[in-house]
Symmetry: none
Subunit: 194 residues, 4 copies
DNA sequence: GATGAATGAGGTTTCATTCAT
DNA sequence: AATGAATGAAACCTCATTCAT
């Protein structure tokens, strides 16, 4: 019996997600420019040609990955910490950030290796800028609620530190003393007495 | 009458430096994998083939850039701040770091886009790891001299923050409030009362 | 509806054979090193890139040609003359050899121009040596059965002569008195009275 | 004190010979097409550019090598055996042939790898054909004097055998039983009773 | 939809030859 | 004359994308 249109759509969406996951793995480990469509298709277990029935181009795959990953991370980052801000909340947010980073390690790898390239950014630039702004704003709100003298600058610093730690950790997941660094960050930002 | 070996050597060194500078610009802005040897040669104002009389491959050019830039930065970073450590010294070191970052902006761009890719790292990995360790050690010594409770972790945090700020600044040199962030960092690390 | 794996395989085998034939022609007439992949692709009527979906490199094409041609020739050479050895058999073998040479003229050309180059031999050396040994052995068995005084040396001489004649004939197929030379060889080796 | 024109010429001729020897070695071992002008210059101990003041092109070097080597070999081959022909003479000629082959091993290598390629032959074809004819004629005269039934065909066979043995020997100088094969050839051609 | 063969533009690299000194 | 840097055409090879089935 033939599948219903609904089933079709479900299959398509599932496969689309499969391709994106495969592409994320491949792009993250080889770099977007060096990775080949063949590798992605192979990792996804489909034929090369089929990929083009889901995405217009290799670059379109990258765009989809970045947009969806950024959306996921941002949602997870903001939703989880809506409501009132307290030092306990900020600590939760910090600790949760690194859970996110761990869960989306490939995304971070890819993101770091991609975001410096204007060519790629041309298509993604706005999305990334907006994403950074949104994260910074969230941090700023928290710091603001905690009576920081200059929450805007504080948010920049905090984000820079999160980003830096995430990057150093991504470079060497085994060797990096993440837990202790995280504790120190919590101590500095979320348990300070002003 | 032919040129003397000395003359030849002088020409070669000049050209070599020229190529490296051109390659750094091109790699930094297009990404190593996307950049073409043609672009590098054009930027350097030479024929494509000549590049291969100076470097064995495109990758060898990258290696030379990274090694020499890392050496430059590290020398500049450590030598300038040898001797006794004081809070004033640490402030100098922080401020000087960002002068370095500004002077080697292309190197940072390239470095950020390259260091996540194992393929590239295979050849460079050790050099980069050593470089990071050296920088972290320098910071640690300073913090240690300033009686930090946990200088090792503090150095990680400080370096992460420098790296993060540098990266965000590199992404948007015009819009980033570098001066104020830097002041805040100085206030936090170099003027604190314990 | 897609082709079945079997259909794909059939197409691939056909194409592979087509490429090998084209490459043999081109390599034989221009020499392996001077021949270009473009020429081979053109001769085969395919795009350059496709060749690399069948063979890993230009050199791999050469290896495939040599291995398959040597196998063909050897099979044809030995199988046809299994069983008892008589002078009539040796005559058949000699005459058949030159039929083989005629049928595989391009292979002989290529073989002669290639087998002196250590670079190429590095990959093929063993195969060629084994091939020569196998041919010499076959000849030796025949001579041995015919009560030659020193069949090993006789085989060397006979093979050298076959090889030499084949080569001179290949150099000038029109002008060479092949039939008469062949008759003389038959007279000398296969109809002698001891 | 400046050199006299005569000294100049002597130097030039010496150097020319030096280049040819170097080129012969390089061409013989890498094949003409694969060998590079740089390799030749290096082997000769001169700068690349200087080679072009002695020869118009890489191909001109090959032509000079081939012409001079063929001339050398032919002279040595014919002059040494002028005069009356006897079986002892033919034996001498055969034995001397292989001394020549040993002395000019690189030339034979090169010659075998080059003579199948029409591109190269276009310039050399006539010279080679003439050379082969001259050798064959010499052999023919000897056989004729020894009352061979068909000296023309006999000469072809003998030359083919010499050529074949030379080639197999060149392929594996260590392992080839040259002395015994040579003895057998002498026995067959130069000591036979009709 | 699904396959993987096929295309062809363009990438890296080599190298005979020329040129400036 | 002599050097070796410099050129640029062309080689081999890769790969995003299209196509026939």
């Amino acid at each position: 019996m033939p599948r219903t249109p609904l089933q079709f759509q479900a299959v398509r969406e599932e496969r689309r997600a499969l391709i994106l996951q495969a592409a994320l793995r491949v792009f993250a480990h080889h770099g977007f420019a060096s990775a080949t469509v063949r590798q992605v298709a192979q990792e996804a277990g489909i034929a090369q040609g089929l990929l083009y029935s889901y995405f217009a181009s290799k670059e379109a795959v990258l765009r989809a990955i970045m947009e969806e990953s950024m959306r996921d991370v941002l949602e997870s980052f903001t939703e989880a910490h809506a409501g009132t801000s307290s030092e306990a909340q900020l600590e939760l947010l910090l600790r949760h950030s690194f859970v996110l980073i761990d869960q989306h390690r490939d995304f971070w790898r890819l993101s770091y290796s991609v975001r410096m390239q204007p060519e790629v950014l041309a298509q993604l630039g706005e999305a990334i800028t907006g994403w950074i702004t949104a994260i910074t704003s969230t941090l700023e709100e928290h710091l603001s609620a905690l009576d920081y003298a200059d929450p805007a600058i504080g948010a920049r610093m905090l984000f820079a530190q999160i980003d830096g730690v995430a990057q150093h950790y991504t470079l060497d997941p085994e060797g990096y003393p993440l837990a202790r660094v995280l504790d120190a960050m919590v101590a500095q930002y979320a348990r300070r007495r002003h």
